[in-house]
C-alpha cells in the first residue's frame, strides 16, 4: 500500500464552526484532519459533478472518458482538456460517449500528451504515466 502524502497548512475557522467540527470528530472517533479532508473531498466531487453537467454530457455518461479528462485537467485547463479530447476522438472516429477501454491505446494517450505539452510543462513520460494509471494501465 502506498503511503499518503500530506501537506501542512494553516486555516482559520469560525470559533463556533471549530467547536462543532471538533465535537463531531470526537463523536465519530475521527481526527480533525479526517473530518476536514472528507468534507473537502465531498465538496470537490460535488463541484466536479456540477461542472460536468454544465460542460459535456459525455463526462457524466462515460466514466472512462471522465477519468481521462480529469487527469488531463491536472496539467491543462478544463476547457482545453475537453477540446483536445474531443478533437483526438474525432480524428479517430471515436465517439466520446461510447469510447471503450479497448479503443484507448497507448498511441491514443500519447496523442493527448502531445497536445498537453504545448500548454503544460509536464514532460511526455510523466503525462503518459498519469494517463495510463487513469485508465488502469496496459
Amino acid at each position: 500500500m502506498v503511503a499518503k502524502k500530506y501537506r501542512r497548512t494553516t486555516i482559520e475557522l469560525d470559533v463556533n464552526l471549530y467547536k462543532r467540527v471538533k465535537a463531531l470528530a470526537v463523536e465519530k472517533d475521527m481526527t480533525l484532519r479526517e473530518i476536514i479532508s472528507e468534507a473537502l473531498e465531498e465538496k470537490l466531487a460535488q463541484e466536479e459533478e456540477e461542472n460536468d453537467a454544465m460542460n459535456s454530457d459525455f463526462l457524466r455518461e462515460n466514466p472512462l472518458t471522465k477519468k481521462i479528462v480529469r487527469t488531463m485537467e491536472t496539467f491543462i485547463s478544463r476547457d482545453a482538456a475537453i477540446l483536445l479530447f474531443i478533437k483526438k476522438c474525432e480524428s479517430r472516429n471515436y465517439d466520446p460517449y461510447t469510447i471503450t477501454r479497448e479503443m484507448v491505446t497507448e498511441e491514443f494517450l500519447s496523442s493527448l500528451c502531445n497536445g498537453i505539452r504545448h500548454l503544460s510543462d509536464v514532460d511526455n513520460t510523466e503525462c503518459l504515466k498519469a494517463l495510463k494509471a487513469a485508465v488502469g494501465g496496459f
Binding site: T74, F75, I76, S77, R78, D79, A80, L83, L84, K87, N114, G115, H118, L119, S120, D121, V122, D123, E126, C127, A130
Partner: protein
C-alpha cells in the same frame, strides 16, 4: 520586475511599478517587442529563484521563440519559465478551421492564463505564476468575432481579471505607437520600442516609457542594444524627435 531585470532598465524606472501592473510593449514589426518581454522576464527570474513566469504565445510557436531568443543570447531559467504555446495547441486540435472564435471555445485561454502549474510538473506545488507575458494583444483579439464595443468590454474584463490575480503582465501590441487604441487607457503602463532612422546609415533601436501609473520614470528615449549577454539599455538617445 523592471528594475531588477535587464541591465540599465533601472535608469529608466526610478521605482518598481506595483505588483499586478499591466504594461503594454508597443512597436512596429521588428522592434524587439517579444525579445524585450522575454529578456525582462528571464533576467528577472535569474535573480529571483523563487519566482515563476509564463509566456503565452498565440501565433508564433514556442520553438520559434526559443530559436530567436537563443540567437540573441537570452537564456530561460529552467523550472521557472514556461512558454504556453497556444499557437501549436490550436494547430494540434484544429489545423484547418477557426472554431476557437466561438466565445465558448475561447474561454480556455483565460483559464490557461490563470491556471497554476501542473501538479506533476517540474514547477510543481500548484504555484501561480506572478509574472506573465501575452504575445500578442492583436492575436488575442483576433480570436473574437465580436463588434468593437463588445470587444472593449471583453478587454476590460480581461485586464480586471489579471489585476485581481495580481499577475504583473507584459502585453505585446503590434502597431504604430502613435495611433491611439482604447486599450492604452485601460492599462497601467505603455512602453514604446522602435527604430530611430534620423541617421539612415546608423539606425538605432530605442525604448521609451510613455506611461507608467504610480511609478517615477524617465521620459526620454534610451538606446536598446543587443549585446553578447542579451538586451541592454544604453545611453539616452540624442536628437530623437517625435
Amino acid at each position: 520586475m523592471f528594475r531588477d531585470s535587464i541591465k540599465g532598465l533601472e535608469r529608466i524606472f526610478h521605482a518598481e511599478p506595483p505588483s499586478g501592473s499591466i504594461t503594454m510593449i508597443v512597436g512596429k514589426p521588428g522592434t524587439l517587442k517579444s525579445s524585450l518581454a522575454h529578456a525582462i522576464l528571464s533576467s528577472y527570474l535569474w535573480k529571483h529563484k523563487g519566482e515563476k513566469a509564463v509566456y503565452i504565445t498565440i501565433e508564433e510557436t514556442e520553438e520559434s521563440h526559443i530559436r530567436n531568443m537563443r540567437s540573441l543570447g537570452i537564456a530561460f531559467p529552467k523550472n521557472q519559465y514556461f512558454i504556453k504555446d497556444i499557437a501549436s495547441f490550436k494547430f494540434e486540435i484544429a489545423p484547418e478551421n477557426d472554431f476557437l472564435q466561438d466565445d465558448k471555445h475561447f474561454n480556455f485561454i483565460m483559464q490557461e492564463i490563470s491556471k497554476p502549474f501542473g501538479l506533476y510538473s517540474a514547477l510543481a506545488d500548484g504555484d501561480f505564476p506572478r509574472l506573465m507575458a501575452l504575445d500578442s494583444l492583436n492575436a488575442f483579439q483576433n480570436l473574437f468575432l465580436i463588434d468593437a464595443r463588445r470587444l472593449r468590454f471583453r478587454m476590460q474584463d480581461f485586464f480586471q481579471r489579471l489585476r485581481h490575480k495580481r499577475i504583473s503582465s507584459l502585453i505585446i501590441v503590434e502597431g504604430d505607437p502613435e495611433e491611439m487604441i482604447p486599450e492604452y487607457f485601460m492599462v497601467d503602463g505603455v512602453i514604446e520600442v522602435g527604430i530611430d532612422r534620423s541617421h539612415p546609415q546608423m539606425p538605432k533601436r530605442y525604448i521609451v516609457v510613455r506611461k507608467m501609473r504610480g511609478t517615477k520614470h524617465e521620459m526620454a528615449p534610451y538606446m536598446l542594444n543587443i549585446t553578447e549577454n542579451g538586451l541592454e539599455i544604453g545611453e539616452p538617445l540624442i536628437g530623437w524627435k517625435k
